[in-house]
Symmetry: D2
Amino acid sequence: MKILYIGDIMGEPGRRAVARMVPRLVAQRRIDVVIGNGENVAGGFGITPDLAEELFQAGLSAITTGNHAWDKREILDYFPRERRLLRPANYPEGVPGQGSVVVQTSGGEELGILQLMGRAYMPTLDCPFQVAKREMAKLRKRVAAVVVDMHAEATSEKMAMGHFLDGEATAVVGTHTHVQTADEQILPRGTAYLTDIGMTGPLHGVIGVKKELAIEKFLTGMPRRFEVASGPVVFCAALIDVDARIGKALSIERIRILD
Amino acid sequence: MKILYIGDIMGEPGRRAVARMVPRLVAQRRIDVVIGNGENVAGGFGITPDLAEELFQAGLSAITTGNHAWDKREILDYFPRERRLLRPANYPEGVPGQGSVVVQTSGGEELGILQLMGRAYMPTLDCPFQVAKREMAKLRKRVAAVVVDMHAEATSEKMAMGHFLDGEATAVVGTHTHVQTADEQILPRGTAYLTDIGMTGPLHGVIGVKKELAIEKFLTGMPRRFEVASGPVVFCAALIDVDARIGKALSIERIRILD
Amino acid sequence: MKILYIGDIMGEPGRRAVARMVPRLVAQRRIDVVIGNGENVAGGFGITPDLAEELFQAGLSAITTGNHAWDKREILDYFPRERRLLRPANYPEGVPGQGSVVVQTSGGEELGILQLMGRAYMPTLDCPFQVAKREMAKLRKRVAAVVVDMHAEATSEKMAMGHFLDGEATAVVGTHTHVQTADEQILPRGTAYLTDIGMTGPLHGVIGVKKELAIEKFLTGMPRRFEVASGPVVFCAALIDVDARIGKALSIERIRILD
Amino acid sequence: MKILYIGDIMGEPGRRAVARMVPRLVAQRRIDVVIGNGENVAGGFGITPDLAEELFQAGLSAITTGNHAWDKREILDYFPRERRLLRPANYPEGVPGQGSVVVQTSGGEELGILQLMGRAYMPTLDCPFQVAKREMAKLRKRVAAVVVDMHAEATSEKMAMGHFLDGEATAVVGTHTHVQTADEQILPRGTAYLTDIGMTGPLHGVIGVKKELAIEKFLTGMPRRFEVASGPVVFCAALIDVDARIGKALSIERIRILD
Ligand SMILES: [Fe+2]
Ligand SMILES: [Fe+2]
Ligand SMILES: [Fe+2]
Ligand SMILES: [Fe+2]
Ligand SMILES: [Fe+2]
Ligand SMILES: [Fe+2]
Ligand SMILES: [Fe+2]
Ligand SMILES: [Fe+2]
């Protein structure tokens, strides 16, 4: 089973790159299932029902989010209706939406997806490690292969999650920092790992934002309305090859294409 | 001029990798000058005069540090005596040590080195952008080529600094997160850029720390004394090729070697 | 010289309390000059030109702000036009507005006002201690009496500023936490001090916000649009009596009136 | 039932004030039970078994702690042995010690004590609101009166807890900021509330620390070894009068005595 996991998709430039690249990669690399992080598709902040539909149309089987999950109000009612749209599982009980889902690949196999969010330098949530343990136990009863999206700021928290789930999850991949890391690896007990997949969006901004606005904010300390940058776009993803019978990763490859 | 910049060197495993790899790379890649981040060489926390000397012996022409600069008390008196040991330039006036230095390469050329530290999710300091502007102006009067070490947590602050100094600095490279990023590039106005060089240290720890200790800290919330991990070691660096006459970067290459 | 300093004025309930209480207190307590913190007057978030005028009409000679200074866009152009409206002095150069002003009391005496903002758990700014030193030197050349508003979260940073300016400032009073502290005192070298003046606004909210909304935010971790609470209002201020010739505080008294 | 709750006891000056003041107040005010926060008794950082015994000898029936609970290693084994020493209840499962206890007053009545820790600007823990609900339900089956120590930085989180437990807890009192607040009140449904009891320790330090060291840390950004300040001492506590049959607070009074 070949899984393509696309990192934080940033605004319209990111969505257009997804629409162009996904069909091409699915064909070329014989990909069975595509997942992507959609927390920034709506002008950099959040996601709307229409944009979620657009991503499903482009070939995604599931969309994860993160700290920007709730930026657009119209998504609140959509979460309970659309199981393929996830928010981190360690939001407390009563929060709309789900943190995990089982999807079917084009080849008819099943894949579990679990999203967690870190707490270091992030909003306070339930413990992602405790929740990971609980949710993995549930998912592993149903499916052999589970990919975990660890949406977090601190490299230490992401790597700790990788090792914590090593041998349990098929893969632990990070999102949120918008910069791809170069540490793809199979951990000692067999879990594929990458600290951050990186952003799919404008290359020459500051994590996707117009650089002038970001620099001005750092220089003045004043709030600034951010806009998505323009210019050349980078498509960042991870390609994970899985032995679907046992849910073990065979390989993980970084994809970073200037589109 | 070929510059080898080694990322955060972690404890004894990191120091040994430096001792082994530097002579080999200098010979193979015809490197003119070697710089490294030494904030974690003393058991993961700080640096001592002896360990600084050890790194200079191993071929480093300058050592940068960061938030761990002061972890060992015996280094306080050493900072004013040893100009090749830097701490971030945006520490306020009166703090021991310097934030920049000009070194001579083996070929007799001059290179300026400037270290800054970010403020997002980091200790409060003077503004790294204002200090960068002021210090770059001073350094550029003396030398054509200046490499900047932006020791920071947030990818946004590092990329903003890259663009802020684009066309001014020869290169802006990041340290601190201990995970190498895959976004090496020449920015639009010519500055070489890499968000994080990554750590030189144990591969299978959590950013260099024994994974069991790191996981336990995340699980319990209690303070833990950290120990440097053991096992295979990764050597992370950036190799920057510079037109020394004009101080412009010709290329930047990530180096990540399992040692 | 009797100075009345009103803490963070919260929304319409706060503004109405100011309009009612200020004339009464000025008459009863023979107050010479009234200052207030206006960062929350516009529905809890920021201030507009109209609301600033309303506070000046109510008898305030100067208005300080804080981290909410910029919440309303229409205030940006007003800052440079209205010297009596202050923002923290340790915002970097180029930021609209001023951090200090000299006002005339009703008795014709002069009073300097300086606003600073802390950095612990707050936005990153220039060092409030360095800026305090520089700005106090300027103000003390013009006037004998200077009141400092230290807008900060951490009690440690506020008390450190009190002692740092002890003997230099007439008074150092804190704002921002919306809860009055009970530690009014004359510090060893003569500066009047109070860690936080407290909020003027709804008593039964959560620092002025409808309690149900605040509790829900803590329970769910999701963003919530906050609304100013209703019900009984508390008026919080500090009354500082000053020997105007030498700028020394004679006394500091907390005022906390259920209105 | 009259409860005396002493705020963060700071180092030796704090312990001596407790030893002097507790017997006097117990006699004068006819106090039935004394509780105190002991997270800073060991030179400002943590608590040891010997110092806990000293506080029990001085008349305390229970000791709460906070983020400094674990500063001294020798306390780890003591926590499971001594039920009267509490750590915040929202530390995760498996952490040594307990977050609640039922004690007997000198008059033979029972009082429940629950400690929670906030998460805003504090270490990441389980949700204090969820844990409060669960633990209050357990305690209320055994006892009518429960006092809650909310050890937290942000005034908003403390007030939100007060309102969250209003009508459930006898009293919610805050600790941690080391500055007494002036907002003692009976909340609408009957719970006694005070945002922070304040520190028992040196008056002229910076939250109990030598002021020169604290100021220097803010000025330089470098780590400093802190020392407990000397000079006059302030004793801060809350005196809560309770109708023991129904567990309802009759009154809450701040105590702040220059010793
Ligand atoms: Fe994102
Ligand atoms: Fe994110
Ligand atoms: Fe480091
Ligand atoms: Fe660092
Ligand atoms: Fe405020
Ligand atoms: Fe504020
Ligand atoms: Fe404390
Ligand atoms: Fe504390």
